[in-house]
């Protein structure tokens, strides 16, 4: 499966599949630029689910209406996707969620040649507002950041 196909699958999963259990993702942008970083995709939504009658009433009274987003970036387009670049990307995500008053966001890194150093960097992230997941398409494996949000990524990503 190519990176583009995988990205489209994650987009589908977020907007019309299992991602809907996490948040109501309604809009997806491609080649999304945020604070000097171009993301391959950005999907945004909120935590207030829409439904029919009772579920709508339930959602409106129980669920908080937090704005959330999911950024996707592939390592293919970047010459050297190392820890330094990861810090830059995370900074761009953090700045964006602050600007747009988002409660939390996910950053999904799609890779065909991820190194152990990059995997360790992702696993060591403890950010409570940005969940990071690194998908290695070659080995068909995924690592995520060490936070509740990071672990939630497994719920909408099928390797």
């Amino acid at each position: 499966m190519s990176l583009e196909e995988k990205m489209t699958n994650i987009e589908k999963s977020l907007m019309a599949g299992s991602g809907r259990w996490i948040a109501d993702f309604t809009e997806s942008f491609r080649n999304f630029r945020a604070n000097d970083v171009t993301f391959d995709a950005f999907v945004r939504g909120n935590t207030r689910m829409k439904g029919f009658l009772l579920s709508r009433v339930f959602s409106a009274t129980i669920n908080p209406n937090y704005s959330v987003g999911c950024f996707m970036i592939s390592t293919e387009a970047v010459k050297n996707f190392d820890k330094k670049f990861l810090v830059k990307v995370l900074g761009a995500v953090r700045a964006f969620i602050k600007e747009s008053e988002m409660k939390w966001a996910w950053l999904i890194i799609l890779s065909t040649k991820s190194t152990d150093a990059l995997k360790k960097s992702v696993e060591s992230i403890k950010d409570q507002f940005v969940g990071v997941a690194l998908i290695d398409l070659d080995s068909r494996s995924m690592v995520n950041s060490d936070s509740y949000i990071g672990k939630q990524a497994k719920r909408f990503i099928k390797i």
Binding site: E27, S28, K50
Partner: protein
């Protein structure tokens, strides 16, 4: 090369037939409140259904049927016989894939703060492929990255 999409939108066809059906049913309820004969009731129901289908189709074609025509420079979205909207692709600066509350996908084209939706699901297009195609038309010279 110009392309046209005008599939039958079943939901809207059913909606048109239901509108006619409900109007007729209301007329029967108010004008003929007590019809005891079961055969007559059935006859009225069959007549109601037949009229709903025969009037629902023209109503659908007149008000709801959507036709999308586009080429490399512009597109025209026609809804029914009255509503026709045309735009040039280059008028738009941003686009996204949008999912409505009903679960339908549209390609949303942004012009400054305004936007225009191309209803991909209603036109029975694969929204993800259609979005890619529209991206090529809106940003013809831009690289992916």
């Amino acid at each position: 090369m110009s392309q046209t999409y005008a599939p039958l939108q079943l939901y809207n066809l059913l909606k048109s037939c239901m509108i006619v059906f409900v109007v007729q049913a209301l007329v029967y309820i108010f004008l003929v409140p007590i019809i005891i004969d079961l055969a007559l009731r059935l006859l009225i129901l069959i007549l109601n259904v037949l009229i709903s289908v025969s009037l629902g189709w023209p109503l659908y074609k007149r008000r709801y049927h959507m036709i999308l025509t586009y080429d490399n420079t512009s597109f025209t979205l026609k809804k029914g016989v009255k509503e026709e909207i045309s735009h040039k692709w280059k008028e738009f600066s941003r686009l996204s894939l949008f999912r409505t509350e009903e679960g339908d996908f549209s390609v949303r084209l942004y012009k400054d703060s305004e936007f225009f939706d191309l209803p991909a699901s209603k036109l029975r297009l694969n929204p993800f492929k259609f979005r890619s195609e529209v991206m090529q038309l809106v940003f013809p010279s831009k690289d992916k990255k």
